[in-house]
């Protein structure tokens, strides 16, 4: 059923201490790109009263100190920034993330391949060929939602979510990809696992990936896991970052 909506972008009040800037109501990389562009623009020149921002697939939540914010001026500023065309090819961090696919590292790989009528090898090749963007981080600390999944690999979530899935799982849920950071429940399909820690308390930086970063996966042989995992556990960077 359709819901009457105002044209995008629209500003929605979330109480007196936040505004949501909504660019759409669907998972769409073009919508997400506008969210991330506004996020970057506000970060470059934070308006008075801005506390922090939370980008999601389709909206930017702007947390505010209600006593230090000129809401009218802020709304005008946000709308002006939101109307600007999204710059492409800018300063994006590009990560190469090693992944061991299948087996104990990705327990759903074979089932998923069978479901799509392709070999596990072909599924891995498709998954590793794509360039992903960290569309948002949520659900758990550091849990990265990725846009850019090959549409042929899109798969509805499991009917029965698992209560426990491993940390650093690489998974597929609907049209989204993800890298998890901590052990937790999930209804997504686990196809692999990376030794790289996206979230490591006490390390600097605590979080590896940020919204807007680009991600590419590189296949790692199962016998290379132990060495890289030990390295990552010591706090060393295992995902490679390319400029800037």
């Amino acid at each position: 059923m359709t819901i009457e909506t105002l044209p995008y972008p629209r500003l929605l009040r979330c109480g007196d201490a936040a505004i949501s800037v909504e660019f759409g109501d669907a998972i769409d990389p073009a919508v997400n790109a506008r969210v991330l562009a506004l996020d970057a623009a506000l970060a470059a020149e934070p308006p008075p009263g801005l506390l922090e921002t939370v980008p999601t697939y389709r909206s930017l939540l702007v947390h505010l100190d209600p006593l230090r914010t000129d809401f009218r001026a802020l709304a005008e500023r946000i709308l002006a920034l939101a109307e600007k065309p999204v710059a492409t090819g800018g300063q994006v961090r590009r990560w190469r993330v090693p992944v061991v696919y299948g087996g104990d590292f990705g327990m759903d790989l074979d089932d998923l391949a069978a479901r799509h009528g392709i070999s596990a090898e072909a599924l891995v090749a498709r998954h590793a060929a794509a360039t992903y963007v960290v569309a948002m981080i949520g659900f758990m600390p550091g849990f990265a939602y990725l846009s850019g999944l090959d549409p042929l690999l899109a798969t509805p979530r499991r009917l029965e979510p698992r209560m426990k899935t491993p940390a650093q799982s690489v998974s597929i849920g609907g049209a989204q990809g993800a890298i998890s950071t901590v052990e937790g429940p999930s209804g997504w399909h686990m196809i692999g696992r990376t030794p790289a820690r996206g979230f490591m308390p006490g390390r600097d930086p605590v979080f590896t990936y940020a919204p807007g970063d680009e991600i590419r996966f590189e296949r790692l042989a199962p016998d290379e896991w132990a060495g890289l995992d030990a390295l990552a556990a010591s706090g060393a960077p295992v995902a490679r970052c390319e400029a800037p």
């Binding site: 059923m1 359709t2 819901i3 009457e4 909506t5 929605l12 009040r13 979330c14 109480g15 007196d16 201490a17 936040a18 949501s20 909504e22 109501d25 669907a26 998972i27 506390l51 922090e52 921002t53 939370v54 980008p55 999601t56 697939y57 389709r58 909206s59 930017l60 939540l61 947390h63 209600p66 006593l67 809401f71 948002m136 981080i137 949520g138 659900f139 758990m140 600390p141 550091g142 849990f143 901590v182 979230f199 308390p201 605590v206 979080f207 940020a210 919204p211």
Partner: protein, 336 residues
């Protein structure tokens, strides 16, 4: 360095400060004290900053022993404190001697109380805050028997202070602003929400509270593409039963949110115990800002109502302060 050692504590006991900010974009909840006003009151009495780390006590409360001499104070809408078996009024600093015993908890009518610890609790901050977030483990693992809660030495004998009058908070309905997704609900849904008949269910913790009462009809589907969540978001899953999200909430979520509790009333809402009724009132944005300003002024005004405890603590003096109302034995309540 002086400290308090946990001898017994309920599961809802945790260390909380003003909250952990700047990491919501990485999926980290702000956490922080459920009731910032009473956190501030407890801290001021023990020479700590208003937003410093204190012990947040839920039902069940806590029993502690002092390691070295230490100044403490308890604050909350209703709470009881015993030091070495003697009742001490809330909103009053008290010096506990080495080896002394402290029993504290919220009293009937309130969900949380705050035990201020001399100078503020001196645990190591995690990502800029001392607040414990149970679901992620950020800020440290839950307190258990034997846990050590260090004080911050004040460099002098902390003056023993009390508030010369018990602070009066706002009363009346919990104020809400419609949105951000009120258009995902049928036309009458907001009127139902503000029409009364709601109670806090037993499903209540620092993350959120499910409400018992009239269901709120959606218009169309009840799944949205996840967007950001704030403290006080009232989200409504498919069963139509509202859930109010609080300090330990997730950062994003996929249910429509019909309304949001105004920032000034989140602490008041959090203090309503499970099973108690709650009324909501829709207000204008201007009134919400006015309320935020008043709460801020109340917190800043606390300092001006501090008076030194002229005489040593005696039960006569404490009764004269008229601060104890309807207390029961704290020791009895946690079955120690």
């Amino acid at each position: 360095m002086s400290a308090l050692i946990v001898k017994a504590c309920g599961p809802a006991t945790s260390i909380q400060d003003r909250g952990r900010f700047g990491y919501q974009r990485f999926g980290v909840s702000p956490a922080g004290a459920m009731d910032r006003f009473h956190l501030a009151a407890a801290n001021l009495l023990v020479a700590a900053e208003a937003g410093a780390a204190a012990l947040e006590l839920g039902p069940g409360g806590v029993r502690l022993t002092a390691e070295g001499d230490i100044t403490i104070a308890l604050a909350g809408p209703a709470c009881t404190l015993e030091v070495d078996g003697r009742q001490v009024a809330p909103f009053t600093a008290v010096r506990v001697g080495d080896g002394g015993t402290v029993v504290a908890r919220p009293a009937p009518g309130a969900a949380y109380a705050y035990l201020g610890v001399e100078g503020g609790i001196a645990t190591a901050p995690d990502m800029g805050s001392h607040s414990m977030h149970r679901r992620s483990g950020i800020g440290g693992e839950p307190l258990t028997v034997g846990a050590r809660i260090p004080a911050t030495p004040c460099g002098r004998d902390a003056a023993l202070l009390c508030l010369h009058e018990r602070p009066e908070g706002e009363a009346g309905p919990i104020r809400i602003l419609p949105g951000p997704q009120d258009d995902h609900f049928s036309d009458e849904a907001l009127a139902i929400l503000s029409g009364g008949g709601y109670r806090l269910s037993g499903q209540a913790d620092r993350m959120g509270v499910r409400l018992d009462g009239p269901t709120l009809p959606h218009r169309g589907g009840y799944n949205i593409v996840s967007d950001g969540i704030v403290d006080g978001s009232i989200q409504v899953p498919g069963d139509g039963r509202p859930i109010v999200l609080l300090r330990d909430r997730q950062t994003t979520g996929g249910y429509p949110k019909i309304a949001t509790i105004i920032s000034a009333d989140i602490g008041r809402f959090a203090q309503i115990p499970p099973g108690e009724p709650v009324r909501f009132e829709i207000v204008t944005f201007e009134r919400a800002i006015e309320a935020a300003r008043r709460l801020q002024a109340m917190i800043e005004g606390l300092a001006s109502t501090l008076v030194p405890l002229a005489a040593p603590l005696t039960s006569e003096r404490l009764l004269a302060l008229n601060l104890i109302g309807g207390v029961t034995s704290a020791t009895e309540a946690i079955g120690l």
